[in-house]
Amino acid sequence: MLATSLGSPAPFGQSQFALVRGNAFEKKVKADGGTELLRLLFERLGSGADAPGEATVPDLTAAGPAGRAARTALALREATAAGGWALLDHPMLALEVAGSPAYLEPDAVVVHPDGTWTVVEIKSFPMVDSSADAAKVGAAARQSAVYVLALERIAEVTEGAEVGHRVLLVCPKDFSNLPTASVVDVRKQRAVTRRQLTRLTRVEDIAAALPEGTTFDPGCSPEELGSAVDAVPAAYAPECLAACELAFHCRAKARAEGAVETLGRSVRGELGGLTTVAGVLAAAAGKEGDPADPTVAALRRAAALRAEALESPGSRGGGAACH
């Protein structure tokens, strides 16, 4: 919406086929009080405990995110004290970042009889022959790590509770809509997120580190965000196109400035202090730059070799090429 109002539409939105399918899958996984979900969890992570026959599914409804978060914390404490299996469907977790609370909503959290809390993520991408798209699994792992961190804050003040660093990822199996699951160890992502949260001070960086759908309280108005967009220094990189609605806007700006990052982050790595297309080309052409600067020297060598290869009769099948 914001992107559209800024005049740079990005190809975003979700197909209703995917949406319907995703919702149907999550519903199926959690049907019958989560029987299938708990079966999968027990199979993958249930060491030592009795198989979950009947699990408690506490009611988590409350007014407002803060109320729901308080309700969730209470339910976690009660379930842990009860010492049985409990399934928390869409609990609400609060995590303080840069001084203000952010509210997070995992798909589910399961309380084991021994007091372990396991984060459950339900995704609609498939696991075909036990493997799945690594980029998507990575994103799910980072998302889950934030939930684990938020849960750890509650577990600290809950007797007998411990948050599992192994989360359960549930996906459709092969080409069916039958659920299957895999355990993902999120210790790395947890460590990274923990350090990020202590280091980040800018709201937009924090927002980027948190899962989609996180709500801030109080939220930013679109106008505030809009002005924030232009205030952010030119940090555009092509990766933004897949992740952010505003990327087309930033790209247009970066291109107008002639920023070399528009060609990819890795491009910058070899260009040292040169940051604009015109600057690099002028240096390569020998019009600007200090030949003692290794970047300039390498550019000139590259330009000369490229020109030689394109012009020489070699490019037509003779000359210096190894024929």
Binding site: S131, A135, A191, L200, A208, R268, G273, D293, T295, A298
Partner: protein, 444 residues
Amino acid sequence: MTAVLDPGAAAARATDAILGDTLRGTARGIVVDSPPGAGKSTLVVRAALELAAAGRPLMVVAQTNSQVDDLVVRLAEKAPDLPVGRLHSSDSDPYDKVLDGLDNVRKSAKAADLAGLDIVISTAAKWAHVKNVEPWGHAIVDEAYQMRSDALLAVAGLFERALFVGDPGQLDPFSIVGADQWAGLSYDPSASAVSTLLAHNPELPQHRLPVSWRLPASAAPLVSDAFYPFTPFRSGTDHGDRRMSFGVPSDGSGPDRVLDEAAESGWGLLELPARHTPRTDPEAVRAVALVVSRLLDRGGAATSERSPAPVPVTADRVAVGTAHRDQAAAVRAALTELGVTGVAVDTANRLQGREFDVTVILHPLSGRPDATAFHLETGRLCVLASRHRHACVVVCREGVADLLDEHPSTEPVQLGVTVKFPDGWEANHAVLAHLREHRVPWRP
């Protein structure tokens, strides 16, 4: 309070347990994790000699020709009369000429020529071509974490049982083509030999050498925490056991001040002003060269448990480590210009397994506009930060912490792959946080 073993006793106990399993155990494989400078080569040589002495001929698998030649020399030092076979390739110059001077060593490109010798040593690549021989009862696989699973597949038929020794914190083996389709399989051919071995044989005894004899007391905790969080180790020496001093006092320049800081604390960070630079950042390259040249000019000398009297830190005891080959070449040229010769200047890959008194490192992220997976690789930083006995000086541009923040770790995750620790992004932050306490800002 439980009695804490002194380092020597702790190390001896570990070694005894390893040799006990090797000589008397029944497991087909034994895995030994060895942190930097924990005496891996000594262990390999000792295990080989004891097996041979017990009348059990063995084959030794190492990863590079120089590792093989080095082991042959070490064996000859310990047992000059023991018949050792050096199996080599049929290329020209297949082994170090030093071996020609060793009477106990027979060299051949054919395994059959070496049959019956107590110990036969070669690279994994060469062993892979050996066919139709009677399998050995025993093998020692050195640098097993740097060996790829497919390389082990090619040689595992040659032996009945094996001792696998290696450092899990160093650079992982890699493949020049994608291997994602096998990720998560226990026998992923691009994974390390040890991960495949343990995935199929989780019951094998696993040992750990608990003491680094190389790293000083100032470095072991940092390297252990940052790179071996789940398999900690300690230094064999204590604070004060190793000292470094200079005959010539500081001239107050950045390089001299950072050398003093490093001599005092074991670490020094020479921080240049923030700037995006090419890989061969001329200022940083020159700063590295200056630090090395001042170290030598000022008459650096070190005392240690090996020698209470000061021993000069000469050029051969100093190394410069970089991430890229062109950086190493640029540093070499800068050193030549300053008239410094004899200092090892190389990339992390080539410094693996080597030891020096002082190292000077060009930080892999210095001056970079981006942090790629290559530059964040845990093993690279670990190798660079764990080569020294006395001190390590890092030369870096300001702003790396911010750079890391801008490039949060967004690694893809393959299902079923055992997580390897730690994360490069996190380890880089941890090392930087420590280095900041030894920071000498300098504007060249």
